[in-house]
């Protein structure tokens, strides 16, 4: 029988925690959420020597205060779940600052191992650390590691195993003038210690810091005597004269300074001219360069995926053949061709019939809709991963912060907005990047307005079908309208919340990581993280939706299986809802087909194209679109409606999993449908006048 050892890994952001976690678990982690939250919990299992190690990755935190959800999760886990060993990561490039967390945890528990990360990089920067000295001073094992070079990992695990069951006395920092107050609080609290899970001195210190959770615990356990604690704290405030939390943090930093004194030698490496930073912090160049980089990335991704806009530009210049080649060899059309080929092969072997139709249109069609996005998302994420790991993304976020602030968002929302251009599922997930809960919710609701790649595919198809001037401006128009809607609604949301007094200025507080060459492995992890989520979330939804839509399309309530789409359940629903489209000039016998495409688009946006083609039994989308008989104003209104109207089912599922609230899912649906309808109606009326 192997003995199980449970290891919790904690560290401040940017110290290389996920790198170490991935290096130890070799990327085999189970991802779940922390109970009752949307914060992800990563857990890895591995066999090491005679042990089964369970490695739990706690969220990145700066300290153990109660202010953020991540901090509350971490400290509750450490105290209540009692991992065998807590590994605290400390960064060698930043020893003093990152030791702060280790010190806080060392005050709380006695079974920790400190891992000092990025030692290879420290070495090359002329930083030398006397690890033994720090180990002695902190009375805690200290292990230098470099996760990227896989140095020190075995030593770390061996040290962890040796530390199992070793409880060292808790760290006692001298809080100076505050000590008598800590003592008297501890004295009172000690009388109740059997009802308290936390160490009494730690509770006393946290109480003085004004920790809301600790206050609650003590209030409950102490009853009437709680008043005495409050009096002691008031007295302490008068004596110390500054915010007690600030005073306590100060003392911890002093302790950190003492810890590293004479234990670290830095050869001053000459700092390079910071040309890049100069560009990103100049108020004039920063927004321009940040904006341009994002646009450039997405143009590149668009071109690889659809050939657009190069294909269009070439055609307009008179090189229509060259333009066609760009479109033909784009990723989306290549995947389409592959599945067409497989589909034909299936038809050849099985012959026509319900089963063939189910396999080709249902299963293969669904698979194709998922697969077509994989290379695209992988490319976009890899580029973003490079920017993220090299430290450039943080600078872009800072550079663009000024622009975003005007619409009530902060630079933290750069990532979700950018991800949304690829896929709204990723965008909604990326809203976690904002530390401000209000901003996070705003992003969850509003980023689905940003056209994703699926919508680009639909837009391009319609643009080609319409042709002429209207066709040429359709795609830029749709993007312009979508972004305008996003900006206006975001602005309105901030004005409304300001009026209601819940508004908090969209501010930015970000650690600036040093610029460096990106590591391929880290970029891969970043890419894989989002790709995996897309495959699991969007993949399952899109795939099952294709199956369901096949059933709706091929089953008639009266006759069972039917080849005639016009008689299917889907057609009946669409006919019922079609009159809603008449204000947009879409009426008559064929109006239900447009409605049907809209319904399919809710399931997954790219289905709009195939829906129209199948129902009209056409060979090409161009032909199919002609058959709908839409006037140009109606076609424009339809296009804008499709762009804005509703997040697809996969995005709605993600909105739910990120907000854990049906209210927000409903809000998102209502906001999007009404906005889309309004915009479509307006554009129809405007287009009529032109």
């Amino acid at each position: 029988m192997r003995r199980t050892v449970r290891i919790a890994i904690v560290g401040q952001p940017n110290v290389g925690k996920s790198t170490l976690f991935n290096a130890i678990t070799r990327g085999n982690a189970i991802v779940t959420n922390w109970p009752g939250t949307t914060v992800e919990k990563h857990e890895g299992h591995l066999n090491y020597r005679d042990y089964e190690l369970v490695v739990i990755d706690l969220p990145g935190i700066y300290g153990l205060s109660y202010t953020t959800l991540e901090e509350r999760i971490s400290r509750r886990f450490i105290v209540e779940e009692k991992p065998d060993v807590v590994v605290v990561l400390v960064e060698s490039l930043n020893l003093e600052r990152t030791l702060y967390l280790a010190i806080e945890i060392r005050e709380l528990v006695g079974n920790i191992v400190v891992a000092v990360t990025k030692v290879d990089e420290a070495h090359s920067r002329g930083i030398h650390i006397n690890f033994d000295l720090i180990e002695r001073r902190l009375n805690t094992p200290v292990v230098p590691v470099s996760a990227l070079k896989r140095v020190g990992l075995d030593r770390l695990l061996d040290t962890v195993i040796r530390s199992v069951g070793v409880e060292k006395p808790l760290l006692k920092i001298d809080y100076g003038e505050l000590e008598p107050f800590i003592d008297s609080i501890e004295h009172i609290v000690q009388g109740y210690s059997e009802n308290l899970r936390y160490p009494t001195r730690w509770l006393a210190i946290k109480f003085l810091e004004g920790d809301a959770e600790v206050e609650d615990i003590l209030r409950k356990v102490l009853g009437n005597q709680y008043r005495e604690l409050e009096e002691i704290r008031e007295e302490a405030k008068r004596r110390i004269g500054i915010d007690l939390a600030a005073f306590i943090s100060m003392k911890r930093f002093n302790y950190a300074q003492e810890l590293v004194k004479n234990a670290i030698i830095k050869h001053r490496v000459v700092r390079k001219e910071r040309i890049i930073d100069k560009i990103f912090f100049n108020p004039f160049t920063a927004p321009v360069i940040s904006f341009s980089i994002i646009v450039a990335i997405f143009l590149a991704v668009f071109i690889v995926n659809t050939g657009y806009p190069i294909s269009d530009i070439l055609r307009n210049l008179g090189y229509s053949e060259l333009g066609d080649i760009f479109e033909e060899y784009s990723l989306s059309s290549l995947v389409e061709k592959l599945f067409e080929y497989i589909g034909n092969a299936v038809v050849d072997t099985l012959g026509e019939g319900p089963l063939t139709s189910f396999i080709v249109d249902g299963v293969l069609g669904g698979l194709a809709s998922v697969l077509v996005f994989i290379p695209l998302i992988a490319i976009a994420m890899a580029i973003l991963g490079v920017l993220e790991d090299s430290g450039v993304l943080t600078r872009i976020a800072i550079g663009i912060h000024l622009l975003f602030q005007r619409i009530g968002l902060s630079g933290h929302s750069l990532l979700p907005i950018t991800l949304s251009l690829g896929c709204n599922v990723a965008g909604v997930m990326g809203s976690r990047a904002s530390p401000n809960p209000l901003e996070r919710i705003k992003l969850v609701i509003l980023t689905p307005f940003i056209p994703c790649q699926a919508r680009l595919v639909v837009l391009l198809a319609i643009a080609t079908a319409i042709g002429g001037f209207a066709g040429a401006i359709l795609v830029p128009l749709a993007y312009f309208v979508a972004f305008s809607v996003f900006i206006v609604l975001s602005y309105i949301a901030s004005v409304v919340s300001k009026r209601r007094g819940v508004y908090e200025e969209a501010e930015l507080l970000l650690e600036l990581p040093p610029l460096h060459r990106p590591y391929a492995r880290v970029v891969w992890w970043f890419t894989w993280f989002y790709l995996k989520h897309f495959l699991v979330k969007a993949g399952t939804v899109i795939f099952s939706v294709s199956i369901i839509s096949w059933i709706l399309l091929h089953i008639s309530l009266s006759t069972g299986y039917t080849e005639d789409v016009g008689g299917s359940i889907a057609a009946q629903i669409s006919r019922f809802l079609a009159p809603l489209l008449s204000p947009l000039g879409i009426s008559g016998e064929k109006a239900w087909i447009t409605m049907y495409a809209i319904i399919m688009g809710f399931l997954a946006k790219e289905l709009v194209v195939s829906a129209i083609v199948t129902v009209t039994s056409s060979i090409s989308f161009e032909e199919a679109f002609q058959k709908l008989g839409l006037s140009i104003p109606s076609a424009i209104a339809f296009t804008l409606f499709i762009t804005l109207y509703i997040p697809c089912l996969a995005t709605l599922a993600t909105i739910y999993s990120e907000s854990k609230s049906f209210k927000y899912v409903l809000l998102s649906v209502i906001v999007m449908i009404s906005t889309a309808y309004l915009v479509a109606l307006l554009s129809y009326l405007v287009a009529l006048m032109l």
Binding site: Q12, Y62, G63, S65, T67, T68, L93, N94, L95, E96, R97, Y100, L101, I242, D243, A245, A246, F247, S249, M250, F253, D277, F281, N282, P283, A286, T394, I398, H401, L402, S410, G411, P435, E504, E505, E507, L508, L509, L510, E511, L512
Partner: protein, 77 residues
Amino acid sequence: MEVTSLDMVREGSRVVVVEVGSYGWSRRLYQMGIVPGSKLEVVFNKGVGPVVVRVGDTEVSIGRGIAKKILVKVDSS
């Protein structure tokens, strides 16, 4: 020495933090090493946009709204 808010400090100056202010962001600032008494070097301050300071070996970009509430005095030592 005169006390001013961090957003008013010129680029390149070294300052000592006098007060961080008690509001939403203060705990995070404390944890990042920005507490009363800590020494900062103002790396970038362009009059608009975030103020970038160096604390120990890290650089932190602080939104102007937050910087306005951090009181500092210029370090003469």
